[in-house]
């Protein structure tokens, strides 16, 4: 009778890796490494890095709108975002905004204008007339970036709707989707996010409707597919992922003002002389261009109207900017 004594190196059937799994060994390895990374780092620090190549190139003409200071790198502007619909952490939008469906996209126009209605994004933006503008971006949290946007002047789009004489203000609304925007399960702010401008502010040449960043289609975390950029106002005025525009005779609601009127006024012009009640606005942390420790510490003095006083100070002639903050 043959008695088999299994020796240590004899493999049992269930020890052998199935061929299908063997062929997918690289995927398992990648998944294992990814899982390890997830365990080792707090969730807040986990950001999917957006790669420029994932975003289509746009054809945009250079414009005269530029600044001398170095630009924020792509990695920084696509990983450090305030977009509370995807969470209040700075890294949340980069992690979660991929859920936002940006195609097809329509913008509904309502209120005091002759050509109200629902427009496809492609009918709103002339993709042959795109230009690049390098603007300063100053967040109310006292940090700033220099960002190369691609888009068209806001006024050029608003004029298409033929606002009437009662249109004293224009209001914008962000898309509001519980399914696509996980942060909206909790009312951090009044959803949909809303912002507004006085009509003369909106018709000034500076406000810009951006559809791109760094010569490429906007990443979702930066407000795809279409966002406002108002460079002389605190960043939260530059509303993202716009789905609705309303012209009105009276001053419209804005989300941050509704959240805390004492801290966030309707105008929200960058003003180093008017403090936010909880922190000073006299200086700002410069995000991006410089790496390492010195980059982390880099600060600059905040300029009146974020450096755009020549272009916009006239809009506020005779107004008390402390009261109308």
């Amino acid at each position: 009778m043959l008695i088999r004594h299994p020796s240590g190196f004899d493999l049992k059937d269930n020890d052998v890796t199935p061929q299908s799994a063997y062929l997918r060994r690289r995927e398992f390895l990648a998944a294992f490494v990814a899982a390890g990374g997830t365990l080792a780092l707090p969730a807040a620090a986990q950001a999917k890095r957006a790669m420029p190549d994932d975003y289509a190139l746009l054809k945009a003409a250079k414009s005269g709108y530029t600044v001398d200071d170095p630009m924020v790198p792509w990695d920084a502007v696509t990983s450090y975002n305030n977009f509370y619909e995807f969470g209040t952490g700075k890294g949340d939008p980069a992690k979660k905004a991929h859920k936002l469906i940006t195609k097809p996209w329509t913008v509904t126009v309502e209120g005091e204008a002759d050509k109200t209605g629902t427009y496809a994004l492609e009918d709103l933006i002339d993709y042959n007339a795109l230009e690049e503008r390098i603007y300063r971006h100053r967040c109310v949290e006292a940090w700033s970036m220099v960002i190369p946007w691609v888009g068209v002047p806001l006024a050029s789009v608003l004029k298409k709707f033929e606002p009437n004489s009662k249109a004293k203000f224009v209001q914008f609304f962000t898309k509001n989707s519980r399914k696509e925007m996980p942060g909206t399960f909790w009312p951090v702010l009044k959803w949909p996010y809303r912002e507004g401008l006085r009509i003369d502010e909106a018709m000034n040449p500076l406000p810009f409707l951006a559809v791109g960043l760094y010569g490429r289609v906007l990443p979702n975390q930066n407000g795809a597919p279409i966002r406002l950029v108002v460079p002389w106002k605190y960043g939260y005025k530059s509303i993202k992922s716009i789905e609705r525009i309303r012209f009105s005779e009276t001053m419209p609601e804005t989300s941050w003002n509704q959240s805390n009127a004492r801290e966030y006024g309707f105008y929200s012009n960058v003003n180093p002389l008017v403090e936010h009640p909880r922190w000073s606005q006299a200086s700002e942390r410069v995000i991006g261009p410089q790496a390492g420790f010195s980059g982390a510490l880099a600060r600059r003095d905040t300029q009146m109207f974020n450096g755009y006083a020549d272009a916009v100070a006239g809009l506020y002639a005779g107004m008390d900017l402390r009261k109308n903050h």
């Binding site: 951090v188 009640p277 922190w279 942390r285």
Partner: protein, 210 residues
């Protein structure tokens, strides 16, 4: 092996390592930053550091406060002996939180710090929480315990109760908008303090009926 049979030395070492992990992670990320390498602090490492330390300080304070209820439930008396270490860790993270604010945000300007403390409510609250924990940290030695006597020592260390409330309100006031996380911290703090109130009330009742 049940939880109760774990030798206390293991429990203590485990807790010491676990509570030190957030600091180890932060130190690792800062060493990457200082070497100019990619790290998970992001592009605003000072803000990230300050938030991380503040969150950790509050959470370790909550862990400290959870030890007594946990002991009551599990009847593991040994847990009490982890309380002081947890409290010291909370003080450690709170000191680093304040230190990062003072050093990296205000560049060590005590004048600016004082201006903030006087002017900005959330900083007043946060500094008060820290001030309340200073005597607790200073009297955390066995010698202090002996010197004060257990009754007075315990009464003094009740300062952790107002401290957690101040810390949580500091967080709520500091957050922009109506944020969920500070409220979750607040709810846990209220639950843990409520536990003590209920316990105290029950003891009073049995005393009266006895």
């Amino acid at each position: 092996m049940t939880l109760k049979t774990i030798p206390f030395a293991y429990l203590k070492t485990g807790a010491f390592i676990a509570l030190g992990l957030p600091f180890a992670w932060l130190a690792w990320q800062w060493s990457l930053l200082l070497m100019g390498q990619y790290n998970d602090l992001g592009v605003n490492p000072i803000e990230a550091t300050n938030r991380f330390l503040g969150d950790t300080a509050i959470r370790v304070l909550l862990i400290t406060l959870a030890i007594t209820p946990l002991r009551d439930i599990t009847r593991m008396a040994a847990l009490t002996r982890l309380r002081r270490m947890a409290g010291l860790y909370a003080f450690f993270y709170m000191s680093l939180h304040l230190g990062s604010y003072l050093g990296l945000d205000l560049f060590f300007s005590l004048a600016k710090l004082w201006k903030d403390v006087v002017k900005r409510t959330y900083i007043t609250l946060g500094m008060s929480a820290f001030a309340l924990l200073v005597p607790l940290a200073l009297t955390s030695t066995n010698a202090s315990l002996r010197h004060l006597g257990p009754k007075r020592w315990k009464r003094l260390h009740m300062l952790i109760y107002p401290a957690i409330l101040l810390a949580v309100v500091h967080h709520i006031f500091m957050a922009k908008g109506f944020q969920l996380m500070p409220l979750v911290h607040g709810a846990i703090a209220i639950f843990l303090l409520g536990w003590r109130v209920v316990k105290w009330y029950r003891v009073q009742k049995t005393k009266r009926t006895a």
